[in-house]
Amino acid sequence: MAEIKINCLGETCPIPLVETRKAIRKALPGDIIEITGDHPASKKEIPMAVQEMGLELLEVKGDGGTWTIRIRR
């Protein structure tokens, strides 16, 4: 089981969402994907996408600027 980390600091719409999707496509079932960013809307929308795709949202961390989201494929 691998852990994939993506850095989206400074990136704006739609890049954090797109980079998350790219990582999900490359990951194997069971792999963990960790995205770090600071685009406010993406913090809400990445969990929405995770739910739409029926994946497991492990954690949403960080208030204020920088956030980290963990997903299991």
Binding site: T12, V18, R21, A49
Partner: protein, 139 residues
């Protein structure tokens, strides 16, 4: 019906090309399928070196407005159209080129970014794609 979005990109205005690609990339990122039908002025943007050439739909002001908007976009770190198109393809998005536009405007296949185009087609293909999509937009 498939979880799919089909977009007609009729406009070649820079801001509208952005809208189409952002929405389509968003849909792909949410786990949907997506296709964009490039027609008329939209197809002009698929010419080699043509992606960034469109004017702004409003406040173009002989290029001054576009220059200002592009500067603002750079500050906010908005991705380039080229990157958005590459991401769209990488996430499995489909690009359809309108062959009637090619005839009307005298555009040959070799004038276009053939590496990006999934198919050259007419209205029937679009109608079938749209019929099988939950969302279809005309931009």
């Amino acid at each position: 019906m498939a979880d799919k979005i089909t977009i007609v990109l009729h406009s070649g205005d820079m801001d509208k090309v952005y809208s189409a690609l952002i929405i389509a990339n968003g849909a792909l990122s949410m786990g949907m399928e997506a296709s964009i039908f490039f027609t008329f002025w939209g197809l002009q943007r698929l010419k080699k070196g043509g992606l960034d050439k469109g004017p702004l739909s409003k406040m173009h002001m002989l290029g001054l407005g576009k220059w200002m908007v592009k500067n603002r976009m750079k500050k906010v770190n908005v991705a380039s159209l080229d990157r958005m198109l590459t991401d769209f393809k990488e996430l499995g998005g489909k690009i359809l080129a309108c062959d009637m536009t090619m005839e009307i405007m005298g555009i040959k296949k070799e004038d276009l970014r053939e590496d990006l185009i999934s198919d050259y087609c007419a209205v029937g293909t679009f109608v079938l794609e749209a019929k099988n999509s939950k969302v279809s937009l005309f931009i």
